[in-house]
Amino acid sequence: MADRSKQGKEYPPITWEVERGKIRELAKAIGDPNPIYLDKDTAIEEGYKDTPAPPTFLTVPMMWSSSMPVVINDLKINFANVLHGEEEYEYYRLIYPGDVLTGIPKVVSIEEKTSKSGRKMDMVTVEILYTDQDGEKVAKARSLLIERK
């Protein structure tokens, strides 16, 4: 079961430089043809500074930095029993190519619940607050991990 002594713990920061190509690559992988993600000129015509990151872009720094496995290992959770239950983003400003993001993962809560079938589960909420190169808040990502016990 998830190590409750880790509630409130912060983990080493993720640092990620945002590239236009990576924004385009994510949009293409989703199959999102919206030209604001693909073409700088169109994005500018639409009132953006450059191609903005799509709404789910923050999965990219999180996954490529392997920050979640670090947290899961530290919580002594068995990977095979983990489900991604929920994901939520709060956006404070748009993310653009050239931004250098710093994200600090934090375990905000660990709660035990019982499923309808009577199985016990630990609900682990991890938040990553991202700031930019000027120290301004960019977004917060909240992930709910479900450990089936």
């Binding site: 690559e25 992988a29 015509e45 956006y91």
Partner: protein, 143 residues
């Protein structure tokens, strides 16, 4: 420039334009793995997926959230999106066709922001729900 969308034009109960994706192919899982950095073989390796008791690979949950994000930002400009969350409710498999829909459930003035809140849903061709969620956007006023 695409047409501006105003707070006054949106009403509780309005439907978000539907988005249909698919039928999904395994190739998209590979593309999404590379783009996102999520290389869990459950999404790309049938042998691995079978070894853990599935029929074969399943899509990344975050890919389906990405479809919902596509549906939202083809309607509401990306710059107005303030909050977006989902709950992962079911597995998506190659061959599934995913339909994303949603509707406006609340309008409110929050300080100097004019917020709409919508509930969203992604389901397959059989009506099985893959993702439920919500988003909030701050829209400009006409006046």
């Amino acid at each position: 420039m695409s047409q501006e969308i105003y707070y006054e034009d949106i009403n509780v109960g309005d439907e978000m334009p539907k988005l249909v994706k698919g039928p999904l192919q395994k190739l998209q899982h590979v593309m999404y793995a590379g783009a996102s950095g999520d290389f869990n073989p459950l999404h790309t390796d049938d042998d691995f997926a079978k070894a853990v008791g599935l029929d074969g690979v399943i899509a990344h949950g975050m890919l389906i959230m990405g479809f919902v994000g596509q549906a939202i930002t083809q309607w509401i400009p990306r710059k107005y999106l303030k909050r977006f969350g989902v709950r992962f409710a079911g597995m998506t498999k190659p061959g599934n066709t995913i339909t994303v829909k949603g509707n406006v459930v609340e309008k409110r003035v929050d300080g100097n922001e004019n917020i709409i809140k919508c509930e969203v849903l992604a389901q397959d061709e059989n009506g099985d729900v893959k993702v439920t969620g919500h988003f909030e956007a701050a829209l400009p006023l006409k006046s």
